[in-house]
């Protein structure tokens, strides 16, 4: 599987087509970030009985443009104790992956332009979805270096949280992507989309039975540092988190990256689990329908992201780590085994399923036992006076069942 555009060598037409695709994706991302910020503010104000931005342009749709312009012309502060090079580098490390990840998202079908078969996506590298995982790891550096280079404690705390969180959730994210790869028999996003293209029950969300999708969505939200996983920003504790010291255009770049990542993550969810541009088409303007399907599905997920932000309070740090390490990673590992077994044969699939169920039951039993022993340390019953009678003369046992303190 590789890009059919390069099948017959590279000539001028191919170069022009690639350039146009890159420019279109670039412009589309910038405009959609502008709309996304407006959309988020409007939807969240709807959910809070407010009006939201309504001054700049019709329905306030130009608000982001106004904010961006303001940030562009503000003074760019560089803290005295900041590491000057890294401080300047960090916003780019955040923004560039955000732009690049979208390059592999198929936004439409394959069209023919001037005798070239053109896939409607900026690039279709054979490594495909691994590119996403690689670049989302690079984005961690942006956040981490921003906090570290600020020379200030709150940004540092924010970046430590962010890197720990992103690394924890990347494992679950990657494992749920592996199930998709197993099911679709291909790394390339185009192959993944095409393997789901027949009918909607071939969408991976149904073929893999929802769980990998749920894991991917939760872990993806955590990767984005979006609520309820926005501990890295934690306004109430960290005064803004890793970008506390940033101002003007550098802050705008972090903001841009954050919202661009939100869009990209929704687009990737659609690509991996909801058939990407797949959907019923009609015979008029045939190339347009897949794009509309893709955009529609993406907007639904963007709405869900905003909804989550409006509905859920921020996690505590230990809850975040519990969810990541004790729930998502074991669950995605178990599901990966199951999918892998089902790929080999039905018998293996049921065998692995049985194994996973037994392992899960054992785990649950172990947890229950641990809890019981913690609460009732001796012979499965509460501590009582006289339990330690033989141990020494001076031992007094407080009878916890009587409420003594």
């Amino acid at each position: 599987m590789s890009d059919p555009l390069f099948a017959h060598g590279v000539d001028l037409g191919v170069v022009v087509i690639v350039l146009v695709k890159v420019l279109v994706v670039f412009g589309f991302l910038l405009v959609s970030v502008m709309l996304m910020i407006w959309f988020e503010r409007k939807v969240i104000s709807d959910m809070q009985n407010r009006i939201g931005p309504n001054r700049a342009g019709k329905f306030g749709i130009l608000q982001t443009l106004a904010d961006g312009t303001k940030l562009f012309f503000k003074e760019d502060l560089l803290p005295e104790r900041a590491d000057r090079v890294v401080f300047r580098l960090a916003p780019f490390l955040s923004v560039l992956p955000a732009f690049l990840i979208f390059a592999i998202v198929p936004v439409g079908g394959v069209v023919t332009i001037a005798h070239h078969a053109v896939e409607l996506q900026a690039a279709d590298p054979p490594i495909g979805i691994l590119f996403l995982l690689a670049l989302s790891s690079v984005a961690v550096y942006g956040v981490m270096l921003a906090g570290w280079s600020s020379g200030s404690k709150y940004p540092l705390l924010g970046s430590v949280r962010a890197s720990a969180q992103m690394i924890s959730y990347e494992a679950a994210l990657g494992l749920s992507v592996v199930t998709v790869i197993l099911e679709s028999h291909g790394l390339s996003t185009r192959a993944i989309v095409e393997s789901q293209a027949q009918d909607f029950w071939h969408w991976n969300v149904l073929r893999l039975f929802i769980v990998p999708f749920a894991i991917f969505f939760v872990a993806g939200t955590a990767e984005l540092n979006r609520p309820p996983f926005d501990l890295a920003e934690g306004e109430s504790e960290l005064g803004g988190g890793f970008h506390t010291e940033y101002s003007a255009i550098r802050f705008a770049m972090f903001y841009l990256a954050e919202f661009m990542n939100t869009i990209t993550m929704s687009a990737v969810v659609v690509t991996l689990f909801f058939g990407g541009p797949d959907g019923p088409g009609f015979h008029v303007v045939r190339w347009l329908w897949p794009i509309l399907w893709f955009l529609g599905k993406t907007v639904i997920f963007l709405y869900i992201q905003v909804w989550i932000r409006a509905a859920l309070p921020r996690f505590r740090y230990d809850q975040l780590m519990n969810l990541g390490w004790k729930w998502l990673i074991p669950l995605s590992l178990g599901w990966l085994l199951l999918v892998a077994g089902a790929q080999v044969s039905r018998a293996w699939g049921f065998g692995v399923f049985g194994g996973v169920v037994v392992a899960g039951l054992l785990l649950a039993q172990a947890r229950a036992t641990a809890r019981r022993r913690r609460e009732h340390p001796i012979e499965g019953r509460p501590l009582a006076a006289g339990d330690f009678a033989g141990l020494g003369t001076s031992t007094t046992v407080v009878d916890r069942t009587r409420g003594g303190s």
Binding site: M47, R50, I51
Partner: protein, 230 residues
Amino acid sequence: MRIFGEGNFFGGFYVAAKQVLKPRVTTEYPAAKRPKPPRLHGRHLLNRYEDGMEKCIGCELCAAVCPADCIYVRGADNPPDAPVSPGERYGFVYEINYLRCIHCDLCVEACPTEAITESKLFEFSFTSRADAIYTRTELLVAADGKPQRLPWEDWREGEDRFSSGWMRATSPSGAADYEGEVQWSGELGYGVRAPEAGQRGERDDAATGNISIRETQAKKIPVRFGGRRR
């Protein structure tokens, strides 16, 4: 852990989604204003008698009582041929510094001639310290008895009508016998103001501009207790 149901983990989604259909609570401020509370303290006015004479006699009681020390008054003898006030002296210099004023209304209570009152106008701003000092020129009501509409103030039609609300409120001084008795002199442009609503039930809210708290807060009171639906 209970997960579903309002008040639990995923209940937040239901609560948030439910709000989308409800009307907005925002007042679009510069375009629309909410009614002002009846006893709001805004900027001051220097009133005139109905014949156009100034009420201020330059006694400086207001300046003496002011806790923020923001009033500066100098009295002067009335010119015999063209008296400014009915008394012996008049307020020759009268300045209030609005960077200091805390709108406590003690000056209004101290004034023996009801010369100074507070309006409900508070929406003004200035760009220099000098502009923050309102002098006699700005404070004095115009020839028609209405507050002067200064170019940097934002007020709409009708907002100047009930300018002496606080004085009217304090006039009976808590003595029930004087409720409903008009004890203050008339003002140029408005005549004798109607007495504020007392506790005996005789009230003319339209004439005094009184809005009950129940009315201004109607949207915050549950409907079953007589509030209004948002």
